[in-house]
């Protein structure tokens, strides 16, 4: 009883006071309740894949948004996880529940490797160098077709759960857990260090922070999450092929990340949840279907023109304002700050927005 009242108090004071947090709560509830309301296998399939790609996108944001290491080859980790999990479960007959963790672990190692190789690279050099890694991996895969299945990949993998609903929950729960963990990480002192590294690495090092260690750690964590997502996808589709390492996939996650808003873990997740089902839905119309990538690109371009920082920062700015005194966020309709009581005036808030976000 005490816990219930405590939970209710927390909800009322922490969550419902802010529109954005309420939205997140509603979204989580919707995700969890979906199979009870709408049991269509096709819809469940789309949402399962959306959840898997959401993990992928969130992991990219940690790397690119927070640390400023814009990774153009994130598909490497995705593919590493997929292939490792596939190979282990097929060749050694292990259960997929074990091999997905192995996939994440191998992807973590790849993350360390790539992070180490990219330590001295900055900005665009780093981005373009990371583009090369999945392509080199693809070359290696094609060079050893007996091991990797060449252009066909590995097929006949086992599913994690047997029913569409089961698979959906595996993906959704994993996504909620991983994204929440990443967000907590980004919101902690670790995250502050990452911000510092992005904004001014020299100053961070001068302050005594061991930046190479943090940079490699972020690469590893992001890689592990992406590898986990890759393994999930491989076991869902039952095929782990070179399509998991394609340049197009790397570009796709960059688009999701920036479209949703960098340096917010939830931004790319929102982007995936908006864009992936949209493109899939467009694809189901016979005439329009062949144009869906075009429509996707046009939407992205148009949204960028109006919301250059991404979708979620723009939405958040519309529904919330920042208190000028204590810098905490409030609902946009409020007149005084919920925490310090200062007056929330629109002119002041606009000036805040010109100077920069928090």
């Amino acid at each position: 009883m005490y816990w219930l009242r405590r939970a209710w108090a927390e909800l009322r004071n922490e969550v419902f006071v802010l529109p954005s947090r309420t939205l997140v709560l509603l979204w989580v509830a919707a995700l969890v309740m979906l199979p009870f309301v709408y049991d269509d296998a096709y819809v469940l399939r789309i949402l399962t894949m959306t959840c898997i790609f959401a993990i992928f996108a969130a992991s990219w944001d940690l790397l690119a948004g927070y640390t400023g290491q814009v990774n153009f080859g994130h598909a490497l980790f995705f593919g590493a996880g997929a292939y490792t999990s596939g190979l282990l479960s097929l060749k050694l007959g292990l259960s997929p529940w074990l091999t997905v963790w192995a996939g994440a672990a191998v992807a973590l190692l790849f993350g360390f490797l790539v992070g180490y190789l990219c330590l001295r690279l900055r900005g665009s050099y780093l981005s373009l160098a990371t583009l090369a890694f999945p392509l080199i991996a693809l070359g290696l895969l094609f060079a050893f077709p007996d091991f990797s299945g060449g252009e066909l990949g590995i097929s006949g993998l086992r599913r994690l759960a047997l029913t569409p609903t089961g698979n959906y929950y595996v993906a959704a729960i994993s996504m909620l857990a991983i994204v929440f963990a990443l967000w907590l990480l980004a919101d902690s002192k670790f995250g502050i260090v990452l911000h510092a590294i992005r904004d001014d690495e020299v100053a961070a090092r001068a302050s005594g922070i061991n930046t190479p260690r943090y940079k490699m750690a972020v690469f590893a964590i992001a890689a592990a999450a992406a590898g986990f997502a890759g393994a999930l996808l491989a076991h869902y589709l039952r095929v782990a092929g070179p399509s998991t390492l394609e340049v197009a996939l790397s570009f796709q996650v960059v688009i999701w990340g920036i479209f949703g808003g960098v340096a917010t873990v939830y931004g790319p997740v929102a982007a995936v949840f908006l864009l992936y089902p949209l493109t899939e839905w467009l694809g189901s119309f016979p005439g329009v279907g062949e144009l869906r990538l075009l429509i996707f690109a046009v939407i992205v371009l148009l949204v960028l023109l109006f919301m250059p920082r991404g979708l979620t920062p723009w939405v958040r700015d519309k529904i919330e304002t920042q208190c000028p005194r204590c810098k905490q966020r409030n609902g946009a309709w409020k007149k005084i700050c919920r925490l310090c009581g200062a007056a929330l005036q629109t002119q002041v808030s606009r000036a805040q927005r010109l100077v920069g976000h928090q």
Binding site: M49, G150, E151, L237, E280
Partner: protein, 409 residues
């Protein structure tokens, strides 16, 4: 009293309408393919021809009831995205509620699509993907995969048998024309899993056929420049370039061989060379390029010429092997009518024992639900590009075949 009579009439009308509505039930077949690309186009065209032909006769006779055929066009986008293909399969099964699935092209995608179809125990007739794993699944796990049949093409290892048969005949022509005992063969195979077995088989069998292998070159499937390979092949003095190419590298090979006026002749698998657009894509340079193919205006089966002519008249282009969706639908029609039902298990049992005279092959299926290979039945034909036209030249005993030409020396 009057009200009862009116009610009875209304009820009868409703029942009649209901029965008529039920009568207007259709057999829904999903045609799955990459619709913005040539392969998907031909998938759809072949299927349309079959559907129109069947519906003109009133539909398929299902145990006394006539049901029309309705096609559902599903763009799998498989060339660009494997998940999109599986989404399409799931959509047509759960949303459009189709009864049968036909099509597929990219082997990596079809493997994933096969899984979805088998989950729902829907019959999936493959027309396009040659990889043996698809049939191997049937052998290793019959109860799950038995709903899969490969109507076209023959599985990749059987393609080798046709290749060597034709290679032998070309080699013989070279022996007589050029007065050389052992023709030299350069193997030009794209680096891919499907060519591995073929390359190994070639390296083993060619010496037995009294031909010398002068080298192996393996460009990438999407290579656009094969100058290096062709220069080296030129220098090796090869008479035949044995090609195993499925990607656009086939176009580059055809064009650059023509531009260099190479004396060697190209024979093998050149999937791009099977398309009508090949001559234009190679800028009119691909003279003498020959490849394995399925359709031409020859009497491969009694139905081939009529089909090719009708297809050409309707769609203004010649069919490629993915137009065998026509044969797939006809096989389904045959099975449904003979079994009197659309029940998947019964149809599976029927197709396993069928011998179907189609337009591209006379088809029988083995225990892997793959086509049984036989010259003149399922081997396909060989065509050579001469002056902008695809000229069929093998098997020589089929009516309509013409002679194979070689570059002047």
């Amino acid at each position: 009293m009057l009200r009862t009579i009116i009610a009875a009439h209304l009820f009868a009308l409703a029942a009649l309408g209901f029965a008529l509505g039920a009568q207007a039930q259709t057999i829904k077949i999903a045609i799955l393919g990459p619709m913005s690309f040539v392969q998907g186009e031909h998938h759809w065209n072949g299927a349309e021809m079959a559907r129109d032909e069947i519906n003109k006769e009133g539909g398929i006779n299902v145990g006394g009831k006539r049901m029309r055929v309705e096609l559902v066009r599903a763009d799998t986008n498989e060339i660009q995205s494997v998940p999109d293909a599986t989404n399409a399969v799931e959509r047509v099964i759960t949303r459009d509620k189709v009864d049968f699935l036909i099509g597929g092209f990219r082997s990596e995608a079809v493997l994933a699509m096969q899984e979805v179809a088998m989950d729902y125990k829907k019959l999936f007739l493959g027309v396009g993907a040659a990889h043996s794993k698809l049939g191997l699944n049937v052998e290793q796990n019959y109860e799950r995969y038995k709903y899969w049949f490969r109507v076209a093409p023959t599985k990749d290892v059987d393609l080798a048998r046709t290749l060597f048969a034709v290679l032998g005949s070309i080699g013989q022509q070279i022996r007589t024309d050029l007065k050389t005992d052992t023709p030299k063969v350069a193997i030009l195979a794209e680096k891919a899993v499907w060519t591995e077995g073929l390359v190994a088989a070639a390296q083993k069998n060619l010496p037995a056929l009294k031909m010398e292998v002068v080298g192996l070159w393996q460009p990438s499937a999407v290579a656009t420049d094969v100058t290096a390979e062709l220069s080296a092949i030129d220098r090796s003095g090869a008479h035949i370039v044995f090609t195993m190419l499925s990607g656009p590298v086939g176009i580059s090979v055809g064009r650059q061989m023509g531009e260099r006026n190479m004396k060697a002749v190209a024979w093998g698998i050149n999937v791009e060379g099977q398309k009508e657009e090949f001559w234009q894509a190679a800028a009119g340079k691909a003279q003498f390029v020959s490849t394995l193919d399925t359709y031409a205006e020859v009497e491969y089966t009694p139905k081939t010429i009529a089909f090719v002519k009708a297809y050409q008249a309707r769609f203004k282009k010649a069919p490629t092997y993915t137009a065998a969706t026509y044969d797939a639908i006809m096989i389904l029609k045959d099975a449904i009518e003979k079994q009197g039902s659309t029940n998947a298990d019964k149809i599976v049992a029927h197709i396993e024992k069928i011998e179907h005279t189609g337009t591209g092959a006379i088809a029988t299926f083995d225990k892997r639900h793959d086509l049984v290979w036989a010259v003149g039945k399922t081997s396909g034909i060989a065509v050579q590009w001469q002056d902008g036209k695809k000229v069929p030249f093998w098997p020589p005993n089929v009516k309509g075949m013409q002679p194979f030409k070689m570059p002047a020396r």
